[in-house]
């Protein structure tokens, strides 16, 4: 019939088929598994497989299969309880040479994964995940702060022409900066200057000997405390940014005690990847070049580096001399994205600086066109080694020149950094830079795999409630709107399928609040059909023919549905973009649900209605 064009039937059919296919992976529940990876001394081979099988047999644990993959062994089990016992048994049998971690083994058929269909990841509350306890290095904060004060005081004295002998940090951390001046007058002048410029410092005069007149400037304890509070807060924020960028939804990021942070990530079993991103403190430093390449080679050979410069190397070991003064650091970055250099086609990171950074960069490039500038990649990792049965952690700082080039023109806010090895590296660096820099380095002091917090019984209760609620609504709709209600029911069912398909494709993490969100979405999705059915009834009451009533019902209801849903969509959009944790997950569910329900409850029901009533002469409508 003319009301409903053929292309729309085709659209409905295509969407329904795609919806079913992409929702399908969720039917194949992943099975609990234990993953065994080798540490330094272990190897993963057939012998290990045999050892694991024997250990399981000895502990009376039934495994559904032990599988040897490239670098790890995966033993699967029927339920999480068996998985736990198995993990305990394997751990006991294998000792410290292997890492035994929980994992999930996907049972989704190959042809589905081949077309990109995947199941929804489950949240921490539904399936557990990994738990990290991180220690914030507060010493580093004090170090940085004292060094900064020393630099500031030095330049302030120089600016005011106060003659000083030296400005250095005291040997012991927290003991402040000692300033040595040449005369008593200079000391008074310096003390006045420091006291007015830096109220956070407490000044005491040291014992004067000959022409040495020292002042000890110590950072006030309350200022230090404030700094450490701010540090941990900034680190929390940075970690949140990074983890949100990782795409793990519903993470838990909490402060614990004074200097610790707990991070829990749902569904992440591969801890190595997560650790790399959350614990990394990679940043970029832009420094001006110093001297000629030959000077750099000489400096490397002789070991004598000019006082204003530092010697760096690039990946291939080539030496570079760069100025000690940093033009801009990663802190001043507001945005970063990976891209490709338009001229060379090599991977690059596009960087946007904040106002202060942009000004510095502009000032520097204005005065230095034609001179070289170097980009230094600074990364800090913590090496853990067992020495005499004790864990010893040594932070290792890697500094590498990734780009050394002549400044071709003046630039400020936006520019590109090339010299990265691969597109993957560029995108990882962009992710880190965008996530902000950590105010102080963090060390992961503990990592664990945790089980679901809700427990199997609660999850089952939740699912039972969902099924029951849906069934009741379906019944009520069919009862109240008869045939049209049944059509709405079919559409509602497809709404659930398409919603699940889209959520799976997008990769939304499913949690208990998320399930509640789905239920709510379905409850509200029926609203569009209520609007349509009520309109059709009104039209019938006004004496329109059945066909005209259907047409007018859909036409008139559409405007209402659109207005109501667009306003609802605005609310959902704000939840999605600005919330985090369960709020965000809920917002995403709502957002997708509104869109899919607009399609199913209007277009799909219209298609079915047209199929049923289209070619028949109607006297009455079952509505």
């Amino acid at each position: 019939m003319s009301d409903f064009p053929r292309w729309k039937y085709a659209l409905v059919a295509i969407v329904l088929v795609l919806g079913i296919v992409y929702a399908l992976p969720n039917v194949f529940l992943p099975v609990p598994a234990v993953q065994i990876t080798a540490n330094r001394n272990g190897t993963v081979d057939q012998a290990l497989e045999q050892k694991v099988t024997d250990a399981l047999k000895k502990a009376n644990v039934v495994s559904t299969g032990v599988e040897l993959n490239n670098d790890h062994l995966l033993a699967s089990f029927t339920n999480p309880d068996v998985q736990k016992s198995a993990s305990d048994a394997i751990k006991a049998a294998l000792g410290d040479d292997y890492t035994v971690a929980f994992n999930l083994k996907s049972t989704v058929p190959h042809w589905l994964t081949a077309i990109g269909a995947k199941s929804m990841p489950l949240g921490l509350d539904l399936q557990g995940g990994v738990h990290f306890l991180m220690q914030v290095d507060q010493d580093d904060v004090i170090d940085k702060q004292e060094t900064r004060y020393a630099d500031d005081i030095r330049s302030a004295l120089r600016e005011k022409n106060i003659r000083y002998d030296s400005v250095v940090r005291n040997g012991q951390r927290g003991q402040g900066v000692s300033v040595v001046l040449k005369s008593a007058e200079d000391r008074t002048a310096a003390a006045n200057l420091i006291a007015t410029d830096y109220p956070d410092l407490t000044l005491t005069d040291g014992a004067a000997t000959g022409d040495r007149f020292p002042i000890i400037a110590v950072v006030r304890p309350d200022k230090l405390r404030e700094l450490s509070v701010n540090t941990i807060r900034q680190n929390l924020g940075t970690l949140r940014n990074r983890i949100n960028a990782l795409g793990v939804s519903e993470p838990i990021i909490q402060q614990q005690g004074d200097s610790r942070i707990v991070v829990e990530l749902a569904g992440v079993q591969d801890t190595a990847e997560a650790k790399k991103i959350i614990g990394a403190t990679a940043t970029l430093e832009y420094r001006s070049g110093y001297g000629t390449p030959q000077q750099a080679i000489d400096a490397q050979r002789s070991g004598i580096v000019p006082p204003d410069a530092r010697l760096y190397k690039d990946r291939d070991g080539r030496p570079y001399l760069l100025s000690k003064n940093i033009i801009v650091t990663g802190d001043q970055l507001v945005d970063a994205s990976s891209s490709f250099d338009q001229q060379s086609g090599s991977p690059a990171v596009s960087v946007t600086l904040n106002a202060a950074g942009a000004k510095k960069m502009l000032d520097f490039t204005t005065g230095n066109v034609g001179k070289p500038m170097g980009v230094v990649y600074v990364e800090r990792v913590v090496d853990t080694k067992i020495v005499d049965g004790k864990e010893v952690r040594t932070p290792k700082i890697t500094e590498e020149v990734i780009n050394y080039a002549t400044i071709n023109g003046v630039f400020g806010k936006n520019f590109q950094t090339t010299g990265l090895r691969s597109a993957k590296e560029a995108s990882e660096l962009a992710l880190l830079l965008k996530g902000g820099s950590l105010a102080a380095p963090v060390d992961i002091v503990e990592e664990r795999v945790i089980g679901p917090s809700l427990g199997q019984d609660n999850i089952q209760k939740g699912l039972r409630a969902v099924t029951l609620g849906l069934a009741l609504v379906l019944l009520a709709a069919a009862f109240y709107y008869k045939l049209f209600g049944l059509v709405a029911d079919v559409a509602l069912f497809f709404n659930l399928v398409i919603l699940v398909a889209v959520m799976s494709a997008v990769g939304v993490t499913l949690t208990m609040p998320g399930i509640a969100g789905i239920v709510l979405t379905l409850g509200m999705a029926i609203d569009a059909n209520v609007l349509i059915c009520e309109r059709i009834r009104e039209e019938l009451r006004n004496g329109s023919s059945p066909h005209a009533s259907i047409r007018a019902g859909y036409d008139k209801a559409w405007a209402t549905i659109l207005d109501a849903n667009v306003t609802h969509l605005i609310a959902a959009l704000a939840l999605t973009t600005m919330g985090s944790g369960p709020i965000k997950g809920f917002g995403v569910t709502l957002l997708i649900g509104i869109l899919t329900s607009m399609f199913t409850s209007v277009t799909v029901t219209h298609a079915i209605t047209a199929l049923i009533h289209g070619h028949r002469k109607l006297k009455t409508l079952s509505v």
């Binding site: 309880d81 305990d88 929980f102 509350d125 557990g128 738990h131 807060r233 838990i252 909490q254 614990q256 610790r260 707990v262 664990r448 945790i450 089980g451 679901p452 917090s453 809700l454 427990g455 019984d457 609660n458 939740g462 409630a465 609620g469 849906l470 609504v473 009520a476 709709a477 009862f479 109240y480 008869k482 208990m512 609040p513 509640a516 239920v519 709510l520 379905l522 409850g523 509200m524 609203d527 209520v530 009834r537 008139k556 207005d563 109501a564 306003t567 609802h568 605005i570 609310a571 959902a572 959009l573 704000a574 939840l575 600005m578 919330g579 944790g581 369960p582 709020i583 809920f586 917002g587």
Partner: protein
């Protein structure tokens, strides 16, 4: 089947002084309640105490939770930690009935750890406390400020959309009733002192979404009737709009409430907060759609002229071919 008389013509606008008066009273009462009693914030907002307990023999998380509930600690979060013998427990100090609420503002970590251990040992003697610590809140400062930004964006966005698609009076009426619905829902939480956690917050925001959806349907009918009517007496049009949409307003509320009631009664404790908030919100939102939103429109002076399609009024445009 029909429940509602489609010829109903209840004079809802006639009771506007009464209904809006109650709405304002409810709002004021909610503000007072939130200010005086405050909300009973959950672990997500306040942070609390984190304990790790070791068992000699394997233990089920459900059993640990049951033991804690028996001791009166109902809101504790229990998770198993890598293996069968270790569990992590997180709770707020006030959940521990013995500790009383923190003495002099300071939380006695030892006391709480002691109480929890004793409670667990009453059920299983092999429970041993392994570590204890304070935890910060899961809701960071930035989330709170982001929440405010989000609220402003929602209000502006909805206002702008309604302003363009309808008219500014509709935007004002929608936002005012919206504020009422959200406030009263939160006010009921302050009154009952039910735990207010992140899930409940999400639910309050969902209430706003539900309620705006509900109001727009009525407003849409108002616009339609104004445009159709030859002689448009605002009060009569508004009354007819409410009556015409009444059956859909209530049926939709019922359908949504059915799902939420199922969630509340059978969904287990985890979704209680969400479901009860939605149920309250659906009730408040439905009532305000019927009794509050339209009277505000009337007072703002909505009229037929405001709603006629703008292009026709512009002589410049009308003259064009």
């Amino acid at each position: 089947m029909e429940i509602f008389n489609h010829n109903a013509n209840v004079n809802f606008l006639g009771m506007r002084k009464f209904s809006v008066g109650i709405a304002i009273l409810l709002m004021l009462a909610s503000i007072a309640l939130i200010a005086v009693k405050g909300l009973n914030y959950g672990l997500d907002f306040t942070g609390g105490v984190s304990l790790v307990v070791d068992y000699d023999q394997p233990v089920q998380v459900g059993d640990v939770r049951a033991a804690l509930e028996k001791g009166g600690m109902e809101h504790a979060v229990v998770q198993s930690m890598g293996g069968t013998k270790e569990v992590s427990i997180r709770l707020q100090p006030k959940d521990d009935p013995q500790s009383g609420v923190s003495t002099g503002g300071k939380v006695n970590l030892d006391k709480i750890a002691d109480d929890v251990t004793k409670t667990l040992q009453a059920a299983r003697p092999d429970a041993k406390l392994k570590s204890r610590d304070y935890v910060g809140s899961a809701v960071g400062e930035e989330l709170r400020s982001d929440g405010i930004v989000a609220a402003i964006v929602v209000v502006l966005g909805i206002g702008l959309y309604l302003g363009i698609r309808f008219e500014w009076r509709f935007a004002v009426a929608a936002i005012a009733t919206e504020a009422h619905d959200a406030l009263v829902t939160v006010g009921i939480f302050a009154l009952t002192q039910r735990e207010f956690d992140l899930t409940v917050l999400a639910s309050v925001l969902a209430v706003i979404g539900y309620s705006i959806n509900d109001k727009v349907v009525v407003f849409d009918r108002v616009r339609e009737l104004f445009r159709l009517a030859r002689k448009a007496e605002p009060e009569e049009i508004l009354n007819r709009s409410i009556n015409n949409t009444l059956s859909r307003t209530i049926i939709t509320a019922l359908f949504t409430a059915i799902t939420m009631a199922a969630l509340y009664f059978f969904g287990g404790p985890v979704v209680h907060g969400f479901a009860i908030t939605m149920l309250i919100g659906i009730l408040v939102g439905t009532l305000s759609s019927i009794f509050v939103a339209s009277p505000i429109l009337l007072w703002l002076g909505v009229s037929k002229q405001d709603l006629m399609p703008k292009t026709k009024e512009n002589p410049e445009l009308a003259r064009r071919p």
